[in-house]
């Protein structure tokens, strides 16, 4: 027989403390009451191990202290690092975090958003690469990462353009002669497209020659295409990949061709990924400060929730990290 412990309510506390429920509510919510009453109520709360019911409170206040994060998949070091920092920031402010894996599927995204509306999440942080502009109601605070929606939606992003520039500068400084950009291209516009722009611009300004391989997503036979590209441009010795995983794919192909970084060529990715906090970088990379990204997203969202209108666009600096694939 399972013992069902009836949960203790404010009324119980009020009765034990010999005060009204309003007073208990005041104590719980930190409003001013007479010191002696405060003590009585606290004692009763402790005695009964009273915990306020967040659902009753939410029903009344229309607030839940819940935030949702929508992302393609948590099983990816960039997203899990980001989610890690988001949760960390949020829990400090007493918010909880729902996680929603949408797998780059727009209909799943919409389902989630609809679902979240009923559940009174106070806001959403979205890393989403599909076309859901219409479903982001202005009623629900929403902060987007890396992607610009309509005018009203604020977003935070790394300085992708400067990152591309930095990649070019580093590669030049480290003595490369023949450059290449390798990346994919999503049908929906997002900020990561600026990475290559920055890269191209610096190289052009410096009068360097370079090749590019830009593959429309979804990419089939990625490694085959990279291999073909490399074989067509055998002199390449300085590669900038749109992200770290792309850099890894490139390195696999190069290895197959008997070339190793940083001996035979140098390569820089983007993101600055690590598998986990205490692991090494996968490759030399332009690192996004994920922690800052998360903090900014959280701050924006919370101020949106408080009814303020924060900066609608926040751009964060990036930096170069040596992951052993540059000299």
């Amino acid at each position: 027989m399972k013992e069902i412990k009836k949960s203790v309510t404010m009324k119980d506390v009020a009765r034990l403390a010999g005060v009204g429920v309003g007073t208990v509510s005041r104590v719980v919510n930190g409003f001013k009451v007479k010191e002696s009453t405060f003590q009585k109520v606290q004692t009763a709360i402790a005695e009964l191990d009273y915990k306020p019911d967040e659902y009753a409170r939410g029903l009344k206040t229309n607030r839940s202290n819940n935030i949702a994060i929508i992302l393609p998949t948590i099983w990816h070091p960039f997203f899990s690092e980001f989610a890690y920092y988001v949760e960390k920031n949020l829990s400090q402010k007493n918010y909880k975090l729902f996680i929603c894996n949408v797998e780059s599927d727009a209909s799943t995204e919409i389902e989630y958003i609809e679902m979240l509306k009923n559940n009174k999440v106070d806001g959403i942080i979205g890393i989403t690469y599909s076309d859901i502009d219409n479903y982001i109601s202005s009623n629900l605070p929403f902060v987007s990462i890396d992607r610009h929606f309509s005018e009203n939606v604020s977003y935070v992003t790394s300085d992708n353009y400067a990152g591309g520039q930095l990649a070019a500068e580093v590669l030049i400084e480290k003595g490369c002669q023949h450059f290449a950009f390798i990346g994919g291209k999503n049908i929906y516009k997002n900020e990561t497209n600026f990475r290559k722009e920055g890269f191209y611009d610096v190289l052009e300004k410096e009068g360097k020659n370079f090749s590019k391989l830009v593959l429309p997503e979804p990419i089939e036979d990625l490694e085959g295409k990279i291999e073909m590209f490399i074989l067509e441009h055998p002199k390449i010795d300085g590669i900038f990949a749109v992200n770290d995983f792309m850099a890894i794919s490139v390195m696999k192909v190069m290895q197959k061709l008997g070339k190793f970084a940083p001996k035979d060529y140098q390569i820089i990715g983007f993101d600055g990924l690590k598998s986990a906090i205490d692991q090494d970088y996968y490759v030399s990379s332009i690192k996004q400060s994920t922690d800052l990204l998360a903090k900014s997203a959280v701050d924006s969202l919370l101020s949106l929730i408080d009814g303020h209108q924060p900066d609608s666009r926040i751009v964060l600096p990036v930096s170069f990290v040596d992951g052993g694939t540059t000299r």
Copy 2:
């Protein structure tokens, strides 16, 4: 001026459909009503775009359809893969998932658990390596991963012992002669300790000689200690590491000493990690079927929530995967 859209309630629907709120509730919850009333109500719901308020419902029913997962950190491929599958299973059954990073800090864990109690999560899945037995109340359905708590808490785990055996068998079959186990040891007992037991037992039965390096956690100067161990046992050519990240550390040390896998030695990790679903294994490994682990945990938890008493211990099979560090 921000337009505050007052949310539509059951009462609105009832009024428009010309029925009572009870009837609307019945329709929403799938109870039997007359076909014609059903239609009227559905029409009204669609017309008003009515969404039930989960908080009012939760207040009434004491259910939230929220589950929490407590883990050291989501920023780790094992945990993020696991959380990925947990969320996937859960969302199919209309549950949402809170994520709680506790950073191996027992007091944070306790705080989270206390917090979750107020929030009416329907249950918790915990991957936790600290001592929180006392805080798991029997009122709150709890399923533990890899760790056995008191009698009443059900847990699911991979067959760590069989995994250790398998590692030994594979290494023997692939021709290794001098074996070693390298791993850490947590002060709290958990199932991963069985990995080495299985490994030892097979080697002993086969009359093979082997060395062991078992470091109490937290480990300081891990690589230094590994290096010392390797230098003391230079003939080692078959290593079983307690997990994939440990294997990676070992490989770094070996590389420093000029030895490469699988040419100069072979190494097998445990977990079968990938950074992301479409990435390669880090190393040859004894793979846990994370998806099954997640599914079992979810099934157990949901049946616990439904008041059943599922198997209190579920042990799942493991398999060997070739990650290029064995021949």
